[in-house]
Amino acid sequence: MQIIVNGTPMQLQTSPMTVQALVTHMQLTGKRIAIERNGDIVPRSQFEQVVLQPGDTLEIVGAVGGG
């Protein structure tokens, strides 16, 4: 299944896949991140429950230096 993460297409071998599994797959476990899926925030508490669908568009963000 293909999804789009931060503007880049990503091919997932495992399907179905939860948001949490994607986070693990991307080696972002333990990192302070926030995720938006198709325009809506996925609360951290729901990472285990939310199952990704083909064509999902995700934004994964963190805090960086800025003014």
């Binding site: 993460v5 931060n6 503007g7 880049t8 991307m26 080696q27 972002l28 476990t29 333990g30 990192k31 302070r32 991140i33 926030a34 995720i35 938006e36 325009g39 925030i41 609360p43 951290r44 934004e59 994964i60 963000v61 963190g62 805090a63 960086v64 230096g65 800025g66 003014g67």
Partner: protein, 260 residues
């Protein structure tokens, strides 16, 4: 210290707010912020680098949210929708954090704010429970409208972002300060310590800066200079300056008891 800065129900000892961008590395970021004495630090929200090393330090490791009040910004947003989306992500990222810096730009060359989009975003964010510190132009009418919408602080520019041109229109800032019932902070344009002191002498509640420190030849030293300037400017404002006169026939030394 009773003269603290109150924003959204919290008191801060420092009236200097600093950005965390443009530093050489995290060591310099931390050293400069320590030297500035700032308690509130702005951060940007950006896409995580896919494939970055898992154990690479992050800004949050260098500036732990337990030590600083984070002020996530909407830098780089050109519409109300983008800004609102960014801050919703920031709220989730920082565990239901409500204090935010709203800025909506109108032009990539000058980075001049787009006030109509800023007003629209402020309205939505206030409704969603955010405590909005809002960057805007030095237009007193817009500043008042942002206050009326429920923003917790209004932050007019001294001059354009990153320009270091200093305070170009002290008269507008003065009108904004006189009319406001919420803290007014100068955000953007400060270039050196005297600019910061002048902002405080005008009666600003605080100053937010990034480039003036980060782009100095010695950022850590400039951070210390800014801390002193903010404190001196505040004290000078509270002390109340003497009246300006073109000349005075009242010298500081006695006019009697002269020799001869």
């Amino acid at each position: 210290m009773s003269d603290s800065l109150h924003i959204a129900g919290k008191a801060y000892g420092s009236r200097l707010l600093v950005g965390t961008g443009k530093y050489k590395d995290f060591t310099e970021t931390r050293a400069a912020i320590d030297a500035s004495g700032a308690e509130i630090v702005t951060v940007a929200i950006r896409r995580t680098n896919i494939g970055q090393h898992a154990n690479e330090p992050s800004l949050l490791d260098v500036l732990p949210p337990s030590e600083f009040t984070y002020l996530p910004n909407t830098a780089g947003c050109y519409s109300a929708d983008e800004a609102v989306r960014t801050l919703r992500l920031a709220r989730e990222l920082l565990d239901d954090h409500r204090l935010v810096k709203l800025e909506v730009l109108g032009d990539p060359n000058t980075l001049y704010p787009n006030v109509t989009e800023t007003l629209a975003a402020a309205k939505t964010l206030v409704k969603e429970g955010f405590d909005v510190m809002v960057y805007t132009s030095d237009d007193p009418i817009i500043a008042k409208q942002l206050e009326d919408l429920g923003c917790v602080a209004v932050m007019p520019l001294a001059s354009l972002i990153g320009s270091g041109m200093g305070i170009l229109n002290p008269w507008n800032l003065q009108i904004i300060i006189e009319n406001a019932n919420i803290p007014v902070l100068v955000d953007a344009g400060v270039g050196c310590a005297s600019d910061a002191a002048i902002a405080m002498e005008l009666g600003c509640a605080g100053v937010l800066m990034n480039t003036a420190i980060a782009a100095a030849k010695d950022p850590v030293r400039m951070a210390g200079a800014m801390k002193k300037a903010i404190e001196a400017g505040r004290e000078s404002f509270l002390a109340g300056r003497m009246a300006k006169k073109l000349y005075s026939a009242s010298p500081s030394s006695p006019t009697t008891g002269m020799i001869g």
